[in-house]
Symmetry: C2
């Protein structure tokens, strides 16, 4: 089994990390389109162009399944990617919405994500298909805070408090009785503890990286929690491979040995 | 006179705004490479590739002078741009260093900028050529805070306080007796009042947008402060023109009427 994992940058490594834990023996290809990141504030057309060229690269390297581990690309470009490559494609928006469906009793959920993901209304649509109401909130400062390394930091706690209190006010005003909060950006799992601290206990926090790995493992019929000694990973980046190795380790939770530089044009 | 102004995004509009005030009657071409922004965390090679294609576009449209209003591109790609186009090219790092030289009595200056600008050591080198010592500090959260619109905001004040106190500690440890602080990123002029509030009175704050406009006007031998009713501006962007109009107005200080979409590949 050859699984391609794609993200605009490093956040998708949180998904890869969860996949490595769950799908032992598979071969993985990870591409971070670091020369063109971030996708979060760009238009649908531009994101689709970038994501399709990235997906084609991964299948040309031999991937027979693709996981779009970038919420923005999943939200804005999933159909374009499915049209462009001949292999099964799973995106984190769908898996996040599936997990929200399984979690929510009230059928009302909250979603935090990048500006582009929220503007696309992709979570709202995916939730509506599953008979859930979703209230979304863009949190554009969280990615830079994670990338600055300010994880356990009072400024990050304050920014989270501001975003979440605005979201709660909007929920109250719209009469949304949410019991589930979806972390709709693959940078946010690094702030999971901070989210859990900043939200009421009645709100269950769903980590899109983890639930994506669970659903990919289920789809591929592989076991859960087995040893992953047999997994092999090849890493590709479109910008500096040195920077990819250095920063990526924080997301993968272990050192990244070798990264290949890829030129996708642009 | 046909002046091309280039930035990765919106920040260069602060330079254009200052140029419009100082060079009446000129024709301006502004390109924001918004599909590939931000440059601030990317490698020299990638930034040079993007900046050269952008500079070539502006000269192909008829610009006979180029102002590189992006600190990262000026720091990493000025020589590559000069090699690639047949017109005079001025970059904000040089003009910032010139202004620092004119301002500083102690010959010690501080520079705040993006991570890529700081890593390039371009300000340090430009200052050294002018017999100044420069201590640089990367402030990666300031651009996202400006883009979130959190200008007069307690979180921004706190982030600035943290960055500046780290910088002051480093200056004390290195025995740097600075009297000048260069805002080495074209987003930072929007935070000029906050910088002035957060720094001691003994430190003069230099706004790179303003000093660049002054030096371009001087170089072109045009008057100062005359009416600009005769100026014409054409705006180009590589990503959503609607977003460019909406966000750009904040930096230009007035509405942006029409923007042309440009495809530079990538």
């Amino acid at each position: 089994m050859r699984i391609g994992v794609f993200d605009s940058g490093f956040g998708g490594l949180t998904v890869l990390r969860a996949l490595l834990d769950r799908i032992p023996g598979a071969e993985f290809f990870y591409l971070g389109d670091t020369a063109r990141l971030p996708y979060g504030a760009k238009s649908r057309k531009t994101v689709a162009r970038y994501a399709v060229s990235s997906a084609k690269f991964l299948t040309s390297e031999g991937a027979d399944h693709l996981v779009i581990a970038c919420n923005t690309a999943s939200a804005l470009a999933l159909d374009a990617i499915r049209d462009a490559v001949p292999v099964p494609v799973l995106g984190v928006v769908e898996t996040g919405a599936n997990a929200a469906r399984a979690s929510s009793r009230t059928r009302d959920v909250l979603v935090v994500a990048t500006a582009a993901t929220v503007e696309s209304r992709a979570y709202a649509a995916a939730c509506a298909e599953r008979e859930l109401r979703a209230l979304e909130k863009a949190c554009p400062l969280l990615v830079p805070l994670v990338e600055e390394g300010w994880i356990e930091h009072p400024v990050t706690a304050e920014v989270l408090r501001i975003y979440l209190s605005e979201l709660m006010e909007e929920a109250a005003a719209a009469n949304i009785d949410a019991d589930t909060l979806v972390l709709g950006c693959t940078h946010y799992p690094l702030l999971r503890a901070q989210f859990e601290r900043a939200t009421p206990r009645s709100l269950r926090v769903i980590d899109s990286a983890q639930v994506t790995a669970e659903q990919v493992a289920e789809m591929l019929g592989t076991g859960n929690g087995a040893q992953n000694s047999g997994s092999r990973v090849r890493f590709y980046a479109t910008d500096s491979v040195a920077k990819f190795s250095a920063l990526g380790g924080r997301f993968l939770g272990r050192a990244i040995p070798a990264v290949e530089l890829v030129d996708l044009g642009g």
